[in-house]
Amino acid sequence: MSVFEILRSAMRGLTANKLRSILTLLGVMIGVASVILLLAVGNGSAQTVQNAISNLGTNTITVRPSNGGGGGGGAQASSSTSTSTSVKTITTRVSDQLASAGLGHVKEVVPQVTTSLTISSTTTSSDNVSVIGSTAGYFDVSTTKVASGSAFTQADVTTSAKVAVIGSTLATTLYPTGSALGQQISVDGTPFTVVGILATQSSAGFNDPNNVVIAPLTRVQKSYTGYGAVSTLTVEATDSDSVSAAEGEVGVMLNQLLGVTDTTNLPYTITNQSSLLETAAASATSFTVLLGAVAAISLLVGGIGVTNVMLVTVTERTREIGIRKALGATRGAILGQFLAEAATLTLIGGILGVVAALIGSRYQINGTQPVIIGYSIPLALGVSIAIGVFFGVYPAARAAAMRPIQALRAI
C-alpha cells in the first residue's frame, strides 16, 4: 500500500469516532504548542537579557569603589573622608595614572562621575536627571551613539567647557516643538550649550537611559561633584579576547596605586561585562530548559492519551482485526495500520500545535516577547509523530498478536 493509501485508511479509522479523535488530538496539540511556545518565551527572555548586556559593551571592564564612596552626592565628597586611613580612593588622578601605566591589554580608561540634578530650558524643567561627567573617550566605550550634532571633544574637557550631550527623552521634554540641538539648557542654574543628542536606547533597567546629560568631566567636577572619588572607571580592553587579561592588569595596578595591602578587602569591585554576559546566558539557558521540561511533561500526558484512545480503538475493532486476518493480513500489516492511525493522530495534533504556537508567539507573555527557536518546530513535530508511534506500539502490538479466530468471535 502506498503512503497515501495508508494515510487514507488511517483517516477512515480516526473519523469513525470524531469526538474521541479530536479530544486526543487536542492533548497532543496543547503539548506541542506549549513546548514550542515555552521554549520561545525562554529564548525571548534570554535575548532580552543579552541585548541589555551587550548594550553595555562587551570589551569593557567596570571598576567601582566598593565602600559606598561613589561619585554622586556632592562637592563635599573627598578622598580624606574615605573609610580606610591608608588606602586611597579612585580619583581622576588614579584614573590618569592607570591610563598612562602602559598596561598591555588596556586600550582606554574612562572615568565617570555621576550626580542627579534639575535641568531646565526657558519654558520647562526636569527633575532628577542623571548627569554624567566624563572624558571624550566615554563615547568610544559606551554603546550609546550620538544621533545628531556631535560629542564633546578632549579640548572641551581640558577647558571645562559648558557643553552637553543629552538623551532623547530629555531633549523632547525640554524642547517639545523644535530641536534641542544648539539650544541652551540650565543645569542647576549653570547654562550649557547642547552640542549633541544621543540615539534612543532601549531600557534595560528602572531608569530611563534617555533622560541623561553627559558633560565634560572637569566641568561636572568643578560645578557639582567636586574632585573626590569617581563613580565608575570604564576600562576598554584592546579586544574582546583580552578582557580577562585586562581585568588582571587593572587589578594589580590599582592595588599598587591605591596602596592596597589586604587583597581580601578591596576598596573597589571589578565587573567584567563578558563574564556577566556568560552568566546571564547560562541562566537564560537553564530557564529555557526548565520551561521546555515543563512543556515536555504536557506532551507526555498527551502521549498517554494516545495510548488510551488506541487501546479503546483496538478493543472496539477486535472483530475488524479478525476479518482482516482471515483475509490474509499479517501481524506487520495490522501493526502498521494501527501505528499509522496513532501517528496520523499525533501528526495532525502536532501541526495544529505548531499553528497555535505561531499565533501565540505574536503576543507578549508576562512581559516577554516570545522568539520561536527555529529547530523547535521540526523537533516538536518529529517528537509528536514519535510519540504516536511510541505510545501506539503497545495497543497496535496487542491488536497484531490476536489470533484470528479469537478476534472474530468478539462481538
Binding site: 493509501e5 469513525a16 476479518i323 482471515a326 490474509g328 479466530i405
Partner: protein
Amino acid sequence: MSIATQAETVAADSAPPLVLRLDGIHQVYGAGEAAVFALRGIDLAVASGDYLAIMGPSGSGKSTLMNLLGCLDIASEGIYELAGHNVSELTEKELAKVRNREIGFVFQSFNLVPRMSALANVELPLSYGGVRRIERRRRAMEALDMVGLVDRADHQPQELSGGQQQRVAIARALVTSPTLVLADEPTGNLDSASTEEILSIFDHLAGQGRTIVIITHEEHVAQRAHRVLTISDGLIVADRFNEGIAR
C-alpha cells in the same frame, strides 16, 4: 473408516488432484474438567472441483471444522494438508499468506469491514497480497460484476441489504481466485429470495470447477451440493453423493 475409504476411492478413480486432506483431526477447547471435545477424529479428503456441504445438528463441530479448514485456528491433534502445505508446520507469516492466497472465507454474519466501500472491502485481500492499485481495482470490479453489484461499488456495508452484503463478501472471497471457497452458513441470516441469489452464485462457481465447502443445516441448501457430509458430536457419520448432479 469405511466412509473415508469411499471418498478416497472416488478420488483415486477419477483422479482429480486433492485440494485438502484431514487425517485424525481432533480439536479440544479448554482443559481438564471443562474440556470440550469439539472434533474427535476427522478424516476427510476433498478433491479439486468438489462442492461439499457439511450438515449436522447445532454444536456438532461444523464451525470448528470450518475454522480449521480456513486456517483461522490450529487443530489440537492430527494432520491438515492444504494445497500441498502441511498447515500445522506453517509459521504465522506463512499462515497469513495461505489465508490470503488459498482460501476465500464467507461468514454467516457477512463480516464486511464497516465504513469501507464495497469496492474497498473486495480490494482488501488483494492489497494484503501486494497487488498493485490499478490491477487491484480491475479485479475487484470484475468480482463485483460476477455477483451483480458493480452499481453498488461505492456503497458502504450499512447502506446494503443483507443479501447484497453477502454477495460483496462472496466477491471478496473470490477476488484472489482461491483454491478453496469456504462458507459457514452463508444463508443463515438471509430471507429466501436472497438465499436463492447466493445459492445460484455457488452453483455458478461449482459449474466453473471451483472447490467449495459450505456449512448448512437446511436440506434444500445441501441438495445443491455434489457431496454431503454429516457430522454429529465431532465425528463424520455420513458421506454421500447427491443423485443426478453431474460432476
